[in-house]
């Protein structure tokens, strides 16, 4: 048999049909929905007089638009409230499990899926949100879809997609002190650019990847789309199986054994061919920070901002426009630059491990007076664990307050907006102009680098404190 990649194995097992002169009909195992991209899809379904084909394979939660304080009160913004209520109504009507605000299972879609064991190796998983790639950390094919496709999955549990090309990114070696999965992600994107992965599905491999925890793997796969790829994935191993085992929706007993036997076959065969390959050395990766307005504009925190010399034409114009927006100049150091806001959260870095790292760092220190910090757990379960582990006391003592779960300042659709011109060190995934609020200036970094900024009030190398 011809050697196959991990991606091929899962994709091919889900092709219902290959359409003549068209795309593949791909079967979808799990579908996550939220309040922003699903209402129009439900409406389309209604107009056709259809029901949801497999409601038990769909899971809903409101996250994009929700406030992160006083969640027990009615949502003030009328449009947001309407979207949340519409989602709830649609779920009731179609028999879909809905994890509402304040309940056990509430949180950012990409956090609650893995947490409850809904996300499993070998699955196809979609959601009307580009960071669905997060679930690839379990050795699943997971990617974001448009609203028409949300309707397709609701109606038929399938979507139509051409098969993407395959890329492998191998990171070997040991990560240095203070270097996290977020830094690997930002490093890779800075090396291959925000379009380097276009048309591809990425498999991450190598010893540095294997050494990551599930949380770290999720952070990395989450960011895979920021290099233009359709998604990213990591072959499941003992780390994966241990994480999934015993979770609410994980297979139990004999089903578990059967699933496990299958999951163990999920890896790229020796000699499998990738369309594109990259290899990096973990030893070259520093704690990273972005200085511009796309996630590819990142650098080691101790480096200097590139000058853009050698760029020409529209590349040069957009580079300069980007630095101008940020209020930076080429050749400057990032270290020591002032910071106004710190945001810890999002589906990139809103898991328990991220808050542990942050809390351990700020323990016995104090939040800088010039910094406003938003500490937003990715889910209710994360929030509970933060409290149970006593992290909340550490945070409070250092001058930080814990908010309630949601997407928050990741895309600033709710009230958590960074004011115009202010600098925000953010553990989220996109530093586009205005992403965190009109005129906001975003610096993407790991929770450690965010913690260092939060206690010093300026860009700081977290390794100085470790």
């Amino acid at each position: 048999m011809e050697p196959k990649t991990l991606f091929d194995k899962i994709w091919d097992a889900h092709v219902v049909k290959r359409v003549e002169g068209g795309p593949n009909v791909l079967y979808i195992d799990r579908h996550f929905i939220h309040e922003v991209t699903s209402p129009v899809a439900f409406l389309g379904l209604k107009n056709r007089g259809r029901k949801v084909l497999r409601p038990e394979q769909t899971v809903a939660t409101p996250d994009h638009n929700v406030p992160t304080v006083n969640q027990h009160l009615s949502i003030k913004d009328e449009l947001s409230r309407n979207q949340v209520e519409t989602l709830k109504r649609n779920c009731e009507e179609h028999g879909i499990v809905y994890h509402g605000l304040g309940t056990e299972g509430h949180g950012v879609v990409h956090i609650i899926g893995p947490e409850m064991g809904i996300t499993q190796p070998g699955m196809t998983i979609v959601c009307g949100d580009s960071h669905t790639s997060t679930h690839g950390a379990f050795g699943a094919i997971a990617f974001g879809i448009g609203t028409s496709e949300v309707e397709m999955v609701l109606a038929s549990q399938c979507i139509m997609q051409p098969k993407p090309k395959k890329m492998r990114i191998t990171v070997n070696g040991e990560l240095g002190k203070g270097v996290t999965a977020k830094d690997i992600a930002l490093y890779i994107i800075s090396q291959i650019s925000t379009s380097g992965g276009t048309g591809h599905f990425v498999e991450f491999a190598g010893s540095a990847i294997e050494s990551l925890t599930m949380e770290g793997r999720m952070t990395l796969c989450n960011m895979s789309i920021e290099c233009g790829a359709r998604g990213g994935m990591i072959a499941p191993d003992e780390t994966t199986f241990n994480y999934v085992k015993g979770r609410k929706y994980a297979p139990q007993g004999a089903d578990w054994d059967k699933a496990l036997a299958y999951w163990k076959t999920l890896k790229s065969d020796e000699g499998a061919v990738f369309d594109t390959e990259y290899t990096f050395d973990a030893a070259n990766i520093e704690p990273m920070i972005t200085y511009g307005t796309n996630p590819g504009m990142g650098m080691g925190v101790s480096q200097t901002i590139p000058t853009g010399d050698g760029l020409t034409g529209t590349d040069k114009i957009s580079f300069e426009k980007s630095l101008q927006y940020m209020g930076y100049r080429g050749g400057e150091k990032m270290l020591g630059k002032p910071v106004d806001y710190v945001f810890v959260g999002s589906c990139t870095n809103g898991r328990i491990e991220d808050f542990r790292a942050f809390a351990n760092f700020v323990k016995g220190r104090k939040k800088a007076d010039n910094v406003t910090a938003w500490i937003v757990p990715g889910s209710k379960a994360v929030e509970k664990q933060i409290i149970a582990e006593g992290l909340v006391e550490i945070l409070n003592e250092a001058g930080f307050e814990l908010r309630q779960p949601g997407c928050s300042a990741c895309l600033a659709m709710n009230d958590d907006k960074i004011p115009e011109g202010k600098y925000s060190v953010s553990t989220s995934n996109r530093n586009f102009e205005g992403r965190q609020g009109p005129g906001a200036r975003t610096l993407l970094a790991s929770p450690l680098t965010a913690a260092a900024a939060a206690v010093t009030g300026k860009i700081t190398d977290p390794r100085e404190f470790l």
Partner: protein, 195 residues
């Protein structure tokens, strides 16, 4: 959302000789909080069409009385930016059925085809001719023949062919979208589930 069948269209066109028109210009992000798919046409090119006090901006093509029709002709790299499908909805809802340009952003093109809007790619030189023809006479008629994949400037009779994926062509000709297709193969999907 099912849409009208598309076979042949003869219509004047609205010219937008601007390059890199991105999805934020087509439909600004603040209109994404809607829960219904209606009224997006009203907000098509919102910030180009209306000023801050919601008065129409006279100089913008959609506000000029001499231009009308179901064809939008735009400069290269049309539809770049975010993947929001609302961009295609807004153009369709406004009444356009065809967008002509010398280059489309990938995701926009897919979204357009999924929503009954035909993207026609022509050469940069031919695109210039189209703009010139409209400038000479805003009522110039264009013919879009999907069956034969032909676009014609009727005043001179000059035709060019255009590409379209055979499956998508079938869908457009029959007013079917992917959802109709998927529903039509429900038995195959259920058989797959039992495997």
């Amino acid at each position: 959302m099912a849409y009208d069948k598309f076979t042949k269209l003869i219509s004047p066109a609205v010219p937008l000789p601007i390059e890199n028109i991105d999805t934020d210009q087509i439909i600004p992000a603040r209109f994404l909080k809607a829960v219904e798919r209606k009224g997006f046409g009203d907000n098509l090119f919102r910030d180009w069409r209306y000023d801050k006090s919601n008065q129409p901006i006279a100089g913008f093509a959609l506000n000029k009385p001499q231009y009308s029709g179901k064809i939008l002709i735009a400069g290269k790299n049309f539809g770049s930016g975010s993947s929001r499908e609302h961009a295609a909805w807004a153009i369709y809802d406004y009444g356009f059925r065809v967008v002509v340009s010398s280059f489309f952003a990938d995701i926009f093109k897919g979204n357009a085809l999924n929503n009954g809007l035909l993207p026609v790619v022509v050469s940069p030189e031919y695109l210039e001719k189209l703009f010139a023809a409209i400038e000479a006479d805003p009522q110039t008629l264009f013919e879009v023949d999907l069956e034969n994949q032909k676009f014609t400037l009727t005043t001179t009779g000059e035709s060019v062919g255009f590409e379209i994926n055979p499956y998508k062509k079938h869908c457009l000709l029959n007013g079917l979208d992917d959802i109709d297709y998927l529903i039509s193969i429900k038995d195959e999907i259920e058989a797959f589930e039992k495997k």
